[in-house]
């Protein structure tokens, strides 16, 4: 008997090499690439959280910018008013604040499904956006709030150290560790009885209720977890960006979260991760290449919906299947 249960041996075997590559990357590529990847990994955490609702519970939220923004602003406020510099405490602040907001918003939103759920989440997130936008003496308005570099595990950035080097090495590893931990936790959640109950609700609400699943309660807990993951991503994002502005609370950012989840493929566990990282590269490339980057992203999205609804992971799975069949045919006489 191996100490590792057979159910997770395959995903571990797949994830191990990827994590290894991610770990040696800062020693190989330029700092800029590492920072770029950090953004992608942060967005991946948000997308993982978002997909617990879309992919596993069947609820399309158009207001996840709310939790990302709350996580980010919680960090900025804690730094500004409580003078906290420890990243661990800041993450805790982001998690607590986004959990609180997700718990309250979730209570309201999970009573509905489908389009009403989407519009309700959107309306509530816009409430937060307009507050951040208008109360400029608290939130800095459109100028946002600056956040200095925090201390990681009690160690601060050395005096005179280059910030880019800090972000590309120590902060990158910090993000990577949180990302791996978050992914592992989410993997456990969706493969637990709780996760299976969510899938049952997604596939057939009435039947799930008959089997004894308290639909309302499960949806609320899923909403809460989803919000916390996205809030954690927001908190991690702030030191990377150095600044938090109302843009990340605006509903168009919610649209981007939906976008990268669908880009990767929301029917698979790894889809949102792949989608977030790829989207981040796509957007950075498009923004650097043309002022019409929105049009470029829009065309990608429209093409995706019309031609590749299963996203990158769906396409990969289909190609893999095709090739394996071809192999079998060539091997069998």
């Amino acid at each position: 008997m191996s100490p590792v249960p057979s159910g997770i041996r395959r995903p571990l075997a797949a994830a191990g090499p990827i994590v290894l590559v991610l770990a040696i990357l800062p020693w190989v590529v330029e700092p800029y690439q590492t920072v770029l990847l950090s953004y992608g990994l942060v967005f991946a955490i948000a997308a993982l959280g978002f997909n617990l609702l879309l992919g596993y519970t069947g609820l399309l939220s158009f207001g996840h910018s709310a939790y990302f923004g709350v996580g980010a602003y919680a960090v900025a406020f804690t730094v500004k008013y409580l003078k906290v510099g420890s990243m661990e405490l800041l993450l805790l602040a982001g998690i607590l604040a986004s959990a609180l907001v997700a718990a309250i918003f979730g209570l309201v939103c999970v009573r509905y499904t489908r389009i009403f759920f989407g519009i309700l989440t959107l309306a509530l997130s816009q409430v937060l956006w307009s507050l951040a936008f208008k109360f400029f003496w608290v939130t800095g308005g459109t100028d946002g709030l600056r956040v200095p570099t925090p201390t990681l595990l009690g160690v601060s950035m050395g005096a005179g150290q280059d910030k880019m080097a800090f972000l590309a090495h120590r902060y990158y590893y910090y993000v990577l560790v949180v990302f791996v931990a978050a992914t592992a936790v989410m993997w456990v959640i969706v493969h637990s009885p709780f996760g299976k109950a969510l899938e049952a609700i997604r596939d057939n609400e009435t039947r799930a209720e008959f089997v004894g699943v308290q639909v309302w309660h499960y949806r609320w807990v899923a909403f809460l977890i989803s919000g916390v993951f996205t809030g954690l991503a927001g908190a991690l994002w702030v030191p990377l960006n150095g600044l938090t502005t109302p843009d990340i609370l605006h509903w168009t950012f919610s649209g981007e979260i939906v976008f990268f989840t669908v880009l990767g493929g929301f029917k698979t566990f790894a889809g949102p991760i792949v989608g977030a990282v790829v989207f981040n590269y796509l957007k950075t490339f498009a923004v650097g290449y043309t002022v019409y980057w929105q049009m470029f992203l829009g065309v990608v999205l429209v093409t995706l919906v019309l031609a590749l609804p299963t996203g990158i992971m769906g396409m990969v799975a289909r190609l893999a299947q095709k090739w394996s069949q071809k192999w079998k045919r060539t091997l069998a006489p």
Binding site: Y112, I119, L122, L124, Q126, L306
Partner: protein
């Protein structure tokens, strides 16, 4: 007393424009059950085309009454755009889950936003000559722009016209039948595809009209569509998705609350509007006039 009258007029002004946008959004949802996230961009498109067309003709000269008719280029262009978009982008998606419908209209939003930047550049277009050309009225001791009154009249006429169109014509009957039961209407020989194009075009026409009539007053600015969309959402959520009466009442309510907000609580004005939508959804998920 005069200030009260001016507050009422401002509320009506705002409600008139909002009704044109939200009415179209609601009509489209009522008939084909699609929430068009790009609807605000059609409103902005109408504004840009109207400003561009008037700008071509006016060229610094004093405006003549005929020029006001040139503003109609806006709604016509928006309607034409709608008539192209529905069959090409939306039609393949009616049988797919709602997520995809929302996503494709979100993609369309991104494309149209930049398309306007590409065509007309990043700077606002303005045709304030038309606004100034109408002069102003004195109400008691205050003065009020005549053009604002004209916008209110256009909004009222559009609402009345739409009502007559939908409840008093043959086309209206077909439209309502398709909205209530698409399969049954199809079985009775209604060409559903054609009704969908017509409804979508009509909705876009209204949005474009809304854009065209605010142009002399506010100009055409990039990003105006995204802002307008969310307020139109608030209106249709309050009134009920798919209900035109609801859109009218919702627009009036939002108009009044916004005017009160600007006067008394400017910081939380937008937050109050979004909260209003959330509260209505909680108490009556189908809105004040919704059927579901």
């Amino acid at each position: 007393m005069d200030t009260l009258l001016i507050h009422i007029l401002n509320s009506l002004l705002y409600a008139a424009v909002l009704f044109l946008i939200a009415g179209g959004l609601s009509l489209i949802y009522g008939v084909m059950h699609i929430v068009n996230l790009a609807h605000g961009n059609l409103y902005a498109f109408g504004a840009f085309v109207a400003a561009w067309a008037v700008g071509l003709l006016v060229g610094g000269a004093t405006p003549t009454p005929v020029l006001y008719l040139v503003l109609l280029a806006g709604p016509v262009a928006a309607a034409a755009l709608g008539a192209v978009l529905e069959p090409t982008l939306l039609r393949p998606l009616y049988k797919r889950p709602e997520e995809y419908q929302l996503l494709i209209t979100f993609g369309l939003l991104l494309i149209l936003e930049d398309l306007m930047r590409l065509i007309w550049g990043p700077y606002p277009l303005s045709v304030s000559a038309l606004f100034e050309g109408m002069g102003s009225l004195t109400i008691g001791e205050s003065i009020y722009p005549t053009y604002n009154l004209a916008v209110i009249v256009v909004g009222a006429l559009a609402a009345a016209g739409l009502w007559a169109f939908i409840y008093r014509t043959q086309f209206g009957v077909v439209l309502r039948a398709t909205s209530q039961n698409m399969r049954m209407a199809q079985a009775m020989g209604v060409n559903v595809n054609r009704v969908y194009v017509q409804a979508f075009t009509l909705g876009c026409f209204m949005a474009g009209l809304g854009g065209a009539i605010v142009v002399p007053q506010q100009g055409a600015v990039l990003g105006m569509g995204v802002d307008a969309l969310i307020l139109a959402f608030v209106v249709v959520v309050i009134g009920g998705l798919g209900s035109l009466e609801g859109a009218l009442v919702g627009a009036l309510m939002v108009g009044v609350v916004r005017e009160l907000g600007i006067t008394f609580f400017p910081e939380v004005e937008l937050a109050v509007l979004y909260l209003m939508a959330a509260v209505v959804l909680l108490i009556r998920p189908a809105g004040l006039f919704g059927r579901a």
